[in-house]
């Protein structure tokens, strides 16, 4: 059975009729839909076990704490982390990147250098701009080549003995480019720089293994991978996490507190101030279990087939431009395109008229848009519930767009 045939009954929202048409949801790259298992797990938690975690000495508190910490174990297994201490829950990718930028930022000196890339989402650019401004550090960007890949020769030239951080996306949210993480990490490590990987567009689609990627930090969100909004993960290599002072303070992250100082809690709680998103952790865990049951290799293969079908189909349409690495390069489940004579927002609105949800605009990657020489693009992204028939409908509808306005 094809993956979408197996999964579609699990997603209640796919019953929606939008503008008179069955919903075709191609915007999982912004936020995916949720299977019933995730919704029920969160509901069940709230109906049966909700309490605050860790310091509640009563039955519900113990249940909530156990469920919350079990979710950490799910994440550890899902990403191949060496230990559960390496899994820090955040509010999402933006929060995780901000947290790690602030935390590393405190260790930077004037003249230290931060390297990002031109294809970063603003969430992996702005926090570094703020840090660079505060610390007098220098921010550099690896250029993107015409085929949508990173210029690794230029990257080598940007690395110096002052490079302290290299922050980059695993999968571009615009171009679908899969960056060579292990190679970038190897080169960064040669100059003793820390590596921070934005995995928002990778975690839902690729089998992850932190022990083979070898990056220092890896950040992603639950809501793009079938889980709820409001929770994400910051993976940090234990030795590195242990060496860092917490970036943010509050309850939970301390062992003992005096008026003028405090002793930090153990990992991972040292980086989790305040009441965490507990129900969301339960939902994330259910989402991970759902993906694991499908098998991440099968998920990747399904989405690769949809991406290929879309790329090949759009390439045959006159007046349609497709961005990103051309086939047969391996890509994430992202296809950005433009239709001659139409603004990306109008493309999205016209497709919405047919019940097809795509994203349009700058995709929070304005420097990349500038590099591409466009204001924005239209973007289709795929998930486990999308079908080849839906892609065929997208292609047929895009083919008719040029006469639509």
């Amino acid at each position: 059975m094809r993956l979408d045939e197996q999964t579609r009954p699990d997603f209640p929202i796919l019953q929606r009729i939008v503008n008179g048409h069955p919903l075709v949801y191609f915007d999982s790259g912004a936020s995916s839909q949720k299977p019933r298992a995730v919704l029920e797990a969160m509901n069940h938690y709230y109906e049966r076990s909700h309490a605050n975690v860790h310091r509640s000495i009563h039955t519900l508190g113990e249940e909530a704490t156990e469920l919350y910490e079990l979710a950490r174990d799910s994440v550890q297994r899902f990403i191949g982390a060496a230990s559960r201490e390496e899994v820090v829950f955040t509010r999402g990718t933006t929060d995780g990147l901000g947290l790690i930028a602030e935390t590393i930022g405190r260790t930077l000196a004037k003249g230290d250098e931060i390297v990002v890339t031109e294809l970063e989402h603003h969430s992996n650019l702005i926090p570094w701009q703020l840090v660079a401004r505060d610390r007098g550090a220098v921010l550099k960007a690896v250029p993107v080549l015409r085929d949508g890949t990173l210029d690794l020769d230029a990257f080598d030239r940007l690395l110096t003995r002052r490079t302290r951080v290299v922050a980059f996306a695993h999968v571009s949210n615009v171009l679908g480019t899969i960056t060579p993480v292990t190679e970038i990490v190897r080169r960064a490590r040669a100059v003793n720089a820390l590596t921070v990987v934005d995995g928002a567009q990778a975690a839902p689609h690729l089998r992850l293994d932190m022990s083979s990627l070898e990056c220092d930090f890896y950040v992603f969100s639950a809501h793009k991978m079938l889980g709820p909004t409001g929770i994400g993960v910051l993976y940090g290599r234990r030795a590195v996490l242990d060496s860092l002072e917490p970036g943010r303070g509050g309850s939970e992250m301390i062992k003992e507190v005096w008026i003028d100082h405090a002793q930090w809690n153990d990992l991972p709680w040292r980086f989790e101030p305040g009441t965490p998103p507990i129900a969301e952790a339960v939902g994330l865990s259910a989402g991970i279990e759902y993906l694991e049951k499908l098998g991440m290799d099968r998920v990747a293969e399904h989405e690769r087939a949809l991406t290929r079908q879309t790329l090949e189909g759009l390439a045959r349409l006159p007046g349609v431009t497709v961005y990103g690495p051309p086939l047969p390069a391996e890509r994430g489940a992202v296809v950005s395109f433009a239709v001659d004579g139409l603004h990306p927002h109008d493309v999205a609105a016209l497709l919405d008229g047919e019940g097809i949800a795509v994203r349009a605009g700058h995709h929070c990657a304005m420097p990349l848009m500038r590099r591409l020489g466009v204001v924005g693009t239209s973007r289709a992204t795929f998930s486990v519930f999308n079908s080849p028939d839906e892609v065929s409908l997208l292609l047929a509808t895009v083919a008719g767009l040029r006469s639509a306005l």
Binding site: N19, L342, H343, P344, A349, G361, V375, L393, G400, L401
Partner: protein
């Protein structure tokens, strides 16, 4: 599945919007403009630049616009340029989003209202009366109801 021709979005893309998008009447540079402003819609990156030729006594002799903008924003800018041509600064400033919406005759959803209002904030900037940042909120009642 059969090939589809987009049709359900027709309420959004009225005939006026289509016509103004295909053949805007006031798009292009205005040599000799003496009041110029430009702004960006942070939601989508759209950029509109409005150029005004204002006579010494304050009448707007001509208004033109350029920019990277969607059909709705382009149509809004074009209609706005129509409405302010020949008017005094005060009359131009008194125009409301509802005046342009009345011409566009389209069902503009809340998510696209910014496309309509961007030219207004640019105009206000060009006339030197706008705050440094931010866009005017659509007038109460001018928003389509949430669906």
């Amino acid at each position: 599945m059969s090939a589809a021709t987009p049709s359900a979005a027709h309420g959004l893309y009225s005939d006026v919007i289509r016509e103004r998008w295909r053949r805007p009447r006031h798009r292009g540079d205005l040599p000799g403009a003496n009041a110029v402003a430009e702004d960006v819609n942070p939601l989508c990156g759209d950029r509109v630049r409005i150029m005004l030729a204002i006579e010494p006594e304050g009448r707007i002799a001509e208004a033109r616009f350029v920019g990277d903008s969607c059909a709705i924003c382009t149509a809004s800018a074009d209609v706005l340029a129509d409405l302010i041509g020949g008017r005094s600064r005060d009359e131009a400033m008194a125009l409301e989003v509802a005046d342009v919406l009345g011409v566009l005759q389209a069902e503009i959803r809340p998510t696209r209202m910014r496309c309509v209002t961007l030219p207004f904030s640019v105009l206000a900037k060009a006339l030197g009366v706008a705050p440094a940042t931010g866009h005017p909120r659509p007038a109460p009642g001018s928003r389509a109801p949430l669906q």
